[in-house]
Each structure stands twice: as C-alpha cells, then as structure tokens.
C-alpha cells in the first residue's frame, strides 16, 4: 500500500490528460454551435480539422459507404493542447509535457463556457482521463511496481511480450465507472519495457450530483487516489 499521496509529481509520466463533458443540445443546433465555437477559438487553436465517421454497409447486393463530419478537432499553436467536439462530447487534452491540473481545468472551463455561450447545452456526464507511460526494467517482478496486472497461472510460461488489459470497474461514490486500460508498447529503450497506465473516470450527472464543477473536482481527487494506489512507492519516487 502507498504510505503517502503526493499531490503533484514534478516528473509525472503523463502523456495525455483529458477532461470531458458529455452533453445534449436541442436537435439540429449542434452544427451551428460547433461552427461558432471553432471560429471563436481559431486564433489560439489554429489547426482545425473535421472529425469524420465512415460507415460501410455490407449486404448481398454489394456494399455502400459514406463519410459524415461529426465533429471538429482544434490544436493549439504549440501542438500541446487539443480541443475536440464530437456529437455528444466536448474534450480538452493536454499532451506531454503535462503542466498541472489547475491549468488544464481552467483551460477546459474557459473553452466550455465559450462553447456553452452559443446555445443551450446540458451536461450529462463528467470524465477525467489520464494516460501514463511508465518504464519498467526487464526481468524485475511486475507486481512489485504495478499492482493491477494479469496474473499468469503458475503452470504457464511467465515471460510475456504483448499485454492489453481493459477493465471496467464500478466507482461507488459518487457513482461512476473507472475504465482501466494497460498496454505494453513496442521496445523503446534497451533494458526497459514501456507500459501504458490509462485511467478513465466517468461520472453521469444525476439528480444527486448536479454540480458539474464539484463533480469534476471529485473526479480529480479519485484519479489521483487511483493512480497512487496503482504503483509502488519506489516507482513513484522516480517521478517526484
């Protein structure tokens, strides 16, 4: 178990941090809201590309396909901040190097308030997602460093070279879901293996939890707690 829970790691292994709201708007209004929004932030987020969804239908007579524009992705001048709006989701991402929660949250809130100013938008879900990339020395015992990982039966060979884990875990209070994803990357550094530790916390906005900003702060507390509970003290010290 963790002996302490530092609030900030100076060298956090975060490769992407995301805050997202799921939302609903009146039918037919989203296109105009989205267009107004991306135009409004164009100076700060100049690289703007459509998010497209391709649909292909196969049937005995042949296949048909179509591509629909379902959103926009806007990238900041330095390429480190990304704002994406799709049919039901508004996301702000911060890529490596991560700064801190306060800057990500304030940028998210600022952009959300611009977005919401163009129409009546109702938030239905609050999500926080942190993707960490950690390096472990080959040959060491993984459960000494990462506490959620597949256990291989004793009678099987123990050396793995490809891992992909996805768990959906119920969060009791406030009610939500933790989607935990772990994956092993192709080799990057000699003697080390790179593993993704991806925690995606999602909380529906309910009658009991209507304050979305308070819910977001609670999500942040839990993502910290879950991360620090997931790795060993020794591994965490490398990121202090």
């Amino acid at each position: 178990m963790m002996a302490y829970e530092p609030q900030h790691l100076n060298n956090a292994p975060i490769v992407e941090a995301m805050i997202a709201f799921d939302f609903v708007v009146a039918e037919g209004e989203l296109g105009q809201i989205r267009r107004s929004f991306v135009e409004q932030i164009q100076v700060e987020y100049p690289t703007q590309t459509p998010i497209q969804r391709a649909e292909v239908t196969f049937n005995p007579e042949g296949s048909t396909g179509k591509t629909n524009e379902v959103g926009s992705r806007c990238v900041s001048m330095n390429g480190k901040n990304v704002c994406a709006i799709s049919e039901h989701t508004f996301i702000c991402s911060r890529l490596h190097p991560y700064e801190n929660w306060e800057s990500l949250r304030s940028e998210f809130q600022r952009l959300w308030e611009v977005f919401a100013s163009f129409g009546k938008v109702q938030v239905t879900k609050v999500a926080v997602r942190y993707i960490n990339k950690i390096f472990l020395r080959t040959g060491s015992e993984i459960f000494d460093s990462v506490f959620t990982y597949p256990k291989i039966a004793d009678g099987l060979p123990q050396d793995t070279f490809g891992v992909f884990v996805r768990l959906q875990i119920a969060i009791p209070e406030p009610q939500g879901t933790l989607i935990l994803t772990e994956a092993q990357f192709p080799p990057e550094r000699p003697q080390f293996v790179a593993i993704a530790l991806d925690h995606d916390l999602q909380f529906p906005v309910t009658d009991e939890a209507t304050d979305i900003w308070a819910l977001l702060e609670r999500a942040r507390e839990l993502k910290n707690r879950y991360f620090f509970a997931s790795i060993s003290d020794e591994l965490m010290k490398e990121y202090l």
Binding site: V15, T138, D159, T160, F161, G162, F164, P187
Partner: protein, 160 residues
C-alpha cells in the same frame, strides 16, 4: 515477471505473419475504441502501423514496381525505424511508409493546402527530403540522418 522485449524477428518472418497479423488485428480493435478521443492513442496506433509497414518493406523483392526498383535493404529499414522514432517525438504525422523506387524506404507526409513532404532513406546510406505542392516551389536536398534530422524535421513542420 516484467514483460520481456518481443522477439522482433517474429514480426518479419513470413511463416508466422498470419499469427502476428491476427494478434495485431485483435489489439487494433481494442485500440481503435480509444482513437476517437485520445490523441495519444491515435498517435500510438498510427506509429505502430507505420513501424509494421517499415518492417514489412523488407519483404518487397527487386522489381517490385514492375520495373527494376531495388528491394529495401536491412540498413535502410533500420534507419527508417530510427527516423520514425524521432518523428514520433515531433509534431509531424506521417501519412505512409513505402519502399522507394530508388532503393530504400520513403516516409510521406501530407499537410495543409495539399502540401506534401517525403523523407527517403536509401539503401546506399544517403538520405534526402523533398517538399512539394501545387503552387509551391519544390525544395529538395540530401541530408545526414545522424546529424541533420532535427533541422529537417523542423523544416517539415514549418512547411506542412
């Protein structure tokens, strides 16, 4: 135990290719679920596919283009993998990795306003880049992939 580095040779042996493809397809299905929202996973998937394309380039045989194009050799493939790892740390997003008709491997990029760029890592050890696009002057030059790459990647970022 901590996972060990994968046996790289298994990715380029034809006799196990079917199995490797099947595993990769399964993983890609998972990864695709993340690509619509995560920039990081999108880029990981993209570079994973580009890395595989690079390794598969060695399977091309001389004359693969219907003429007399040389097959990419081990050295050009290895240098392409090195360059890709450096590109991964930049803002650039390659569009494809394909064998070069001049013998070697080419990394292609697409930018705004139909601008294009290609890095070529050739069998004889030379490297070159070319920038082109309708209405833009063509710019091309050889470079040393060991020493000049940061400058070249910066130039591509500016151009694209």
């Amino acid at each position: 135990m901590i996972p060990v580095a994968p046996p790289v040779q298994s990715y380029v042996q034809n006799d196990v290719a079917t199995i490797v493809y099947r595993i990769d397809t399964t993983q890609s299905d998972f990864w695709m679920q993340h690509t619509d929202v995560s920039i990081f996973w999108t880029r990981e998937l993209q570079f994973r596919q580009l890395t595989e394309s690079t390794r598969k380039a060695k399977a091309f045989e001389e004359g693969w283009d219907g003429y007399d194009a040389p097959a990419p050799n081990d050295a050009s493939v290895a240098r392409t993998l090195e360059v890709l790892s450096r590109v991964r740390d930049s803002k650039l997003s390659p569009y494809s990795v394909l064998p070069s008709a001049d013998g070697g491997v080419g990394i292609s990029f697409r930018g705004n306003a139909n601008k294009r760029a290609v890095l070529e890592l050739l069998n004889d050890g030379t490297s070159s880049y070319i920038l082109f696009g309708k209405g833009y002057p063509i710019e091309s030059s050889e470079f040393n992939s060991n020493t000049d790459l940061p400058r070249i990647l910066q130039r591509l970022e500016e151009y694209l």
